[in-house]
């Protein structure tokens, strides 16, 4: 996670309990819209639980964080929930600095997030 220039890859896997969205590479200001669109799409489809897997996310800035917050709002409006999984130490530090850990459950694995009480 250090100064990565790998473009953002957003992979969406639908599951019976909702969807797992895996992020890879760099969620920069330029690519934040890609993440926002993916989360908006799931909210519009009525997805009730979205697990955002950050395990392979190498970089995120405030625009990427904003896309996650916007996704959380969209999902909640439709009765859904957004959960975060596996942030690296720098991403976790950023979530703590911004106090976004107060908005989201942060879990160690996708399985743990899916089975956790909302």
């Amino acid at each position: 996670m250090m100064g990565s220039d790998r473009p953002l890859e957003v992979q969406v896997k639908r599951q019976p309990a909702g969807a797992v969205v895996s992020l890879r590479g760099s969620a920069s200001a330029e690519s934040a819209e890609q993440l926002r669109a993916a989360l908006d799409g799931l909210a519009e489809q009525g997805c009730r639980q979205v697990v955002l897997d950050l395990t392979e996310l190498e970089f995120i800035g405030s625009a990427g964080l904003g896309a996650i917050v916007a996704g959380h709002l969209r999902l909640r409006c439709r009765g859904g929930v957004l959960k975060l999984v596996g942030p690296s130490q720098p991403v976790r530090r950023m979530l703590e600095l911004t106090r976004l850990t107060k908005l989201f459950g942060v879990y160690g694995s996708v399985a743990e997030a899916i089975s956790a009480e909302e």
């Binding site: 996670m1 250090m2 100064g3 220039d5 920069s28 200001a29 330029e30 970089f59 800035g61 405030s62 625009a63 964080l65 904003g66 896309a67 917050v69 916007a70 959380h72 709002l73 720098p90 950023m94 600095l97 911004t98 106090r99 976004l100 107060k102 908005l103």
Partner: protein, 142 residues
């Protein structure tokens, strides 16, 4: 950090880009190349990339109002002791005191407004000119 370490008097290499996020890649890559060449660690490289991206994004969106005819001037100097980065826009500037605290309970769900907080958290020094359209940031090498 002594007053002379604020980067204000530093001689900087300048790159001028249009108000376009895709144009920010080239100066970002060049600065990070210098950062690595001077032996900064991955955590410092991450901090500098983050602060640079936040400053440029603010300059494009808030400073220049996404006006492609307006320019962003990025100045930098990287030595084995410290990295100094300056980002200036052609906007009217802003007052730092008017920026809401993004960590306040009532602002947590706002999708925007975290850039300055992150710049201040990850750099050793962040200061604005009087008008508020130019920010200078310093990262010390541990």
């Amino acid at each position: 950090m002594s007053p002379s370490d604020d980067g204000q008097c530093e001689s900087l290499t300048e790159i001028i880009i249009p108000s376009d996020l895709s144009a920010a890649k080239q100066p970002e890559q060049r600065i990070l190349q210098e950062v690595r060449r001077c032996g900064y660690g991955p955590q410092e490289a991450f901090a500098i990339k983050l602060a640079l991206e936040e400053a440029i994004t603010n300059a494009i969106r808030h400073g220049n109002g996404n006006d492609p005819s307006k320019r962003i001037i990025i100045g930098f100097s990287v030595s084995p002791q410290r990295a100094v980065i300056r980002v200036a826009d052609e906007g009217e500037g802003f007052c730092l005191e008017d920026v809401p605290d993004p960590t306040a309970d009532e602002n947590l769900e706002r999708p925007t407004g975290r850039g300055i907080l992150l710049m201040r958290a990850y750099m050793n020094r962040v200061c604005y000119n009087r008008k508020g359209n130019e920010v200078t940031m310093v990262k010390l090498k541990p």
